[in-house]
Symmetry: none
Subunit: 418 residues, 2 copies
């Protein structure tokens, strides 16, 4: 498909359900795994989200909590943010909660590297970076459509009496039934008592902002349900939970994660985004279209390669505009020359077969074959986005490697050319 074809293909797929029809419940439900409560749930309220949306006389407050402990976010993180945008387009208020309180506290045991204590400046910077990255997704401009809140606003004011009250709404048995805790308790892995407070803190965020709906990945069901319980406890109408899938990464196997290297970061260069997305395995394409684009799913191109290219182009367009998407496509088409990636000529290798560790050294990505081996063992080496973990990987001839991108860690790449 050439660029013109791509553009017209994308235009023809502008979803008949999409933003102009955004008040349609089917549109809000696209890609959603579960909405709760359902009318079939044993629950005192028989109202469904659909009915609530149809009858509400004011914009609903749709909450999404984000964790400002890291700066970079990827397409997996973008899924609930895109859903938040759908609610904004339907006239509702997105309430984006920056979990600055928890980030400022860190992990009080000091044992968790993930939860190291951040300074106020670090948190502020991470929050700003986050907002910059989601700016292309959310409606920041229409008045009343976006509220950004920092949860230290209310959590730092909780006193012991209030915290006892929060804790008293749940039993040990209920908390230990939470996914994660249950297995750890069974295996006798220590669960520290303060960990029981985190779901209650997240739940109390819903009370503080008076959320009507909370969005989250499927792993957030417990926490969102805690929010419902606390809202009920404090005399509010409990929020609806809307659960979205956890995105599988570009490797087609594991969930998208920066540490696994199978991710597409929102801050990546358009060409890098394009390059990664045009390689998404066929079996993931429909879900990627469903979750990451607004295009109609019924009329996607028949040819799998065309679907890959359309996905790559469409996603790049969302974040960088049509010109950048076209440019990324053209760069990819013109013999794989990808703007910024340096090349290494396979002709420089004296003889094949060649070991991967040696290749890492002579290509300049590692300082020695030994370092190359270590990087492979650490899981930091990728060939065209596929991680290679076998230190003895060997290539018999140059054409197994030609035009592929060899990568170490996040920032070191070479394109292998003949």
């Amino acid at each position: 498909m050439n660029t013109t074809n791509l553009i017209s293909s994308a235009q023809s797929l502008i979803n008949s359900e999409s933003p102009s029809m955004a008040q349609d419940f089917a549109w809000l439900r696209r890609g959603v795994v579960e909405i709760f409560p359902q009318p079939t749930d044993v629950d005192s309220e028989s109202e469904t989200l659909e009915k609530r949306l149809a009858t509400t006389s004011r914009p609903l407050r749709v909450k999404l909590g984000i964790d400002p402990t890291g700066a970079d976010i990827h397409l997996g993180h973008s899924i609930p943010v895109r859903k938040l945008r759908a609610f904004q387009d339907a006239g509702h208020t997105a309430v984006l909660i920056i979990g600055d309180f928890t980030a400022r506290i860190g992990d009080p045991t000091g044992k968790s590297e993930v939860r190291r204590q951040l300074t106020e400046a670090e948190v502020a910077q991470n929050a700003q970076t986050y907002l910059d990255q989601v700016r292309p997704i959310l409606d920041f401009d229409t008045p009343g459509r976006l509220e950004v809140r920092y949860n230290s606003e209310w959590l730092s004011r909780l006193d012991l009496g209030k915290i006892l009250e929060l804790l008293s709404t749940m039993t040990v048995g209920q908390m230990l039934a939470k996914e994660g805790f249950a297995e750890r308790y069974k295996k006798e892995n220590p669960i520290f008592l303060h960990e029981f407070l985190y779901p209650l803190m997240q739940g109390y965020d819903s009370v503080a902002v008076e959320a009507d709906v909370e969005l989250g990945g499927t792993d957030q069901k417990f926490n969102i349900a805690v929010g419902r319980d606390l809202q009920r406890h404090f005399g509010q109408k409990p929020q609806f939970g809307l659960l979205l899938p956890i995105l599988i990464g570009t490797d087609g196997v594991q969930k998208m994660s920066k540490s696994l290297g199978n991710y597409v970061g929102l801050s990546e260069h358009p060409s890098d985004k394009y390059q990664k997305l045009q390689g998404v395995p066929d079996q993931l394409l429909t879900q990627y279209f469903e979750l990451l684009t607004d295009l109609a799913l019924e009329k996607l191109p028949a040819n799998p390669r065309d679907r890959q290219l359309l996905l790559a182009w469409e996603v790049v367009k969302q974040y960088h505009g049509e010109a950048a998407a076209n440019q990324a496509k053209e760069a990819a088409d013109s013999g794989g020359k990808k703007g910024a990636i340096p090349e290494f000529s396979l002709a420089e290798i004296p003889q094949f077969p060649v070991k991967l560790a040696y290749l890492l050294n002579v290509s300049g990505l590692c300082k020695s074959s030994g370092e190359g081996k270590r990087k492979i063992q650490e899981g930091g080496v990728y060939l065209d986005g596929d991680r290679i973990t076998n230190v003895d990987t060997t290539f018999a001839q140059p054409d197994e490697l030609a035009q592929k991108v060899l990568q170490v860690g996040k920032n070191k790449f070479v394109r292998l050319v003949p």
Copy 2:
């Protein structure tokens, strides 16, 4: 035994270990079930309390926490207070902690009648009543020997960050190992999460007052150990725990408890105290002497009846002085007529049924039925030691009341006679 014999018997038993020798460790250890840590405990400190007492260059801070949810205390409660006095006599500082914070909060689930929420005024009044009752036991006068602290001073200032830190010092498994929790968890009886905070709050009291020793009943071992852990966490030297027995009541079977009716209250009339104590079963006498008096145990009278009388006389003397003890004995001896209590003849009441509030008025205990009602509501009215809180309490006929002692507050009594 006549009164003169009683007095001389008691004098002959003034303990050769007693207050004059108070710095002797054997004296401080009298009646104690356990002191921890012992040098045999696996613990980084090998110091024992005995060594600490022998080498300290400053008075130790000896903590006892008390719960101001009820006003009346009994001889069972007096045991750690008496031990506190022994430490005072040895030159140390008694730190009496009034648990006003917890009493002000009440039970956040609202399910516990025992932990109903008290007003500031109720807490203050209960605390004052407590102090009035322990006044005969403790040294209130020697400078530096008594510190009375209210734990709301520090607990009301804890924020969520600090509370997360407190919680992070323990695991769910450690907390569930606590006596009480373990059985409830096994039986699948609900344990509410806030219950996990109470041991930590008590432990934090030790941090706040920098306790060197904490006294408590044997049921307090877990909580005192939590205090040690928290002190270590906050860089303090951990306190020693000194555990005292839970007193068996005058029925000789169950632990002394107001609700079981097997108690001797510190605010009871001398004659009532005497009457109850002279009936303490023989098998309890040695422990009662050990825990409730300073008398030497080796030379107690051979005759069990003499031991009972000596116990009764000695305890009454402690709280009311020798004259009151003699009077109580004489009253008991003269056919059960209970000395100092004025009588009110039920024949003066024109007709039955009669309301309690009215009875309080006509008997002269209150100036009006209205004051009677208020006293009932305030919890200050007792019939034979049982508090009556229902203002509408009515008695159908005189024989429901005959020979009973009607009491208002601490000092006003009448015996109701036919």
